[in-house]
Amino acid sequence: MLDRFASLFERRPRGAEDWVARLGRPTVSPATLAAFEAWLSANPRNLADYEDAKDLLRETRDLRSNFIGELNLIPPAPAFARKRRASTHWTPVALAGGLAAAAVVLAVAPALWMRFSDPLAGATTYTTVVGEIRDVTLADGSVVTLDTASTLRARIDGRVRRLSLDRGGAYFAVAHDKAHPFQVAVADRQVVVTGTHFATSLRGDSARVELLEGSVEIAEPRASNKPLRLAPGDRVSYRVGGQILREARIDPASAVAWRQRRLVFQDATLSEVLAELGRYTDVRIRLADPTLGRHRVTAMLPLDGRGGVIDSAAKLLPVTLERTAPGEVTATAR
């Protein structure tokens, strides 16, 4: 209401750009519309300029993915703005009612506030425990496979399908929908997709993105850096605040084998294999002799076998696993 009152004293728009900006308001007074029509009629050039300005605005539509980083960097509203927002809701009703209304506004404001500041407010959270691998179908038809010990938040109802991988790993088969960008926050970056198959992981502060099909862009948190576009087979990793590093290209068959409930290793060191396995069990795997870790191994280990990964490892790896303490096994050369 205050806005509408204040608008009476505002300068009348002069140029085409001013008019485009003015008419972008949700409510425009009849007087303003009449003035706009008079401006259009004053000179045929004005209509052309106005249409050009609107076109320019329209054509920036496709640029959204270039600015994800910048959008994330815009700070949330300062506290005083929140108070002002609440106060504009004042209406001069009876005092008792007014107080009650104020109480409601004060109670609601923080919730509203959260919606503005956190784009993932109200998101659905999906988690898996250690050793669990779970397929989830999202509201848009996209299928997510969550790896062991993972947390993913998803909000699919908005103009942008927003997700956040808070920890662990996830494989995404994204339902194609150009009008609703699919955007996954992983550490301090966003992976932006239109329709594709890719995997992300976040272990500690170390993030990784692997692309199997289609294309994705990784938007930088800083304004000056261009988003990085990945091609199928690309694998990159980064840490919060660090640079994005390109890694060896993936072998699509083995990269996300965990999705088929198995781990595939080709000429990997035994320590790598045990570290991978360790993510699927609460049992700590210790090496009796550190040099054993340098052994090269090629193996395919099922993740859903009876008795868990420790049993599979004992059967399929060239080591003997022995229980040495509660929650700990020790590997010795066989």
Binding site: L40, P44, E59, L71
Partner: protein, 162 residues
């Protein structure tokens, strides 16, 4: 919308057009309206349609005048007359769409906007926030948001122009 259509027809009839001519002109006005990428039921719909209709009415008058002159001078070259009758604002169509490479230039220009101006533009264009929401987020008034947006458009236009 049919209400607006009837209003435009009436407007033309009051200015001496026959019902048939008025309906033709209004038809053409709507066609141009859509061709320019405007949408129905927006704040600017009505003023734009009236402005377009008035422009068409002017063209219509000019053309009628020319026809009268032409029938007086029977020996006028037909091709010249046809050329003269071509609608004046036709070249607008190719100026309308921005080439791909220009988009990259615009992205750069958006990055180079003054910070507050850029933030307002980004929130408006890519987060679908209302002016009120943008104002709260940036801690400024609604009319400041409007000024930022106008300024952003002016600067981007300057980039496209060069």
């Amino acid at each position: 919308m049919t209400g607006l259509r009837a209003e435009l027809v009436l407007f033309l009839q009051r200015r001496g057009q026959s019902l048939e001519d008025a309906e033709d002109i209004v038809q053409e006005a709507f066609a141009r309206f859509h061709r320019a990428g405007h949408e129905i039921a927006q704040a600017d719909t009505r003023p734009l349609l009236f402005a377009i209709t008035k422009n068409l009415l002017k063209d219509h008058w000019k053309q009628a005048n020319r026809e009268r002159v032409r029938t007086l001078r029977l020996d006028t070259d037909d091709t010249t007359a046809a050329w003269e009758r071509a609608p004046s604002e036709e070249p607008a169509a190719d100026r309308r769409s921005i080439a791909r490479q220009d988009l990259a230039g615009i992205a750069t220009a958006i990055r180079e906007l003054p910070p507050r101006c850029r933030d307002a533009f980004l929130l408006h264009r890519f987060e679908d926030l209302s002016y009120r929401q943008i104002a709260d987020r940036l801690g400024v008034s609604v009319s400041m948001v409007e000024k930022h947006l106008a300024e952003a458009l002016r600067r981007l236009k300057a980039v496209r122009g060069t």
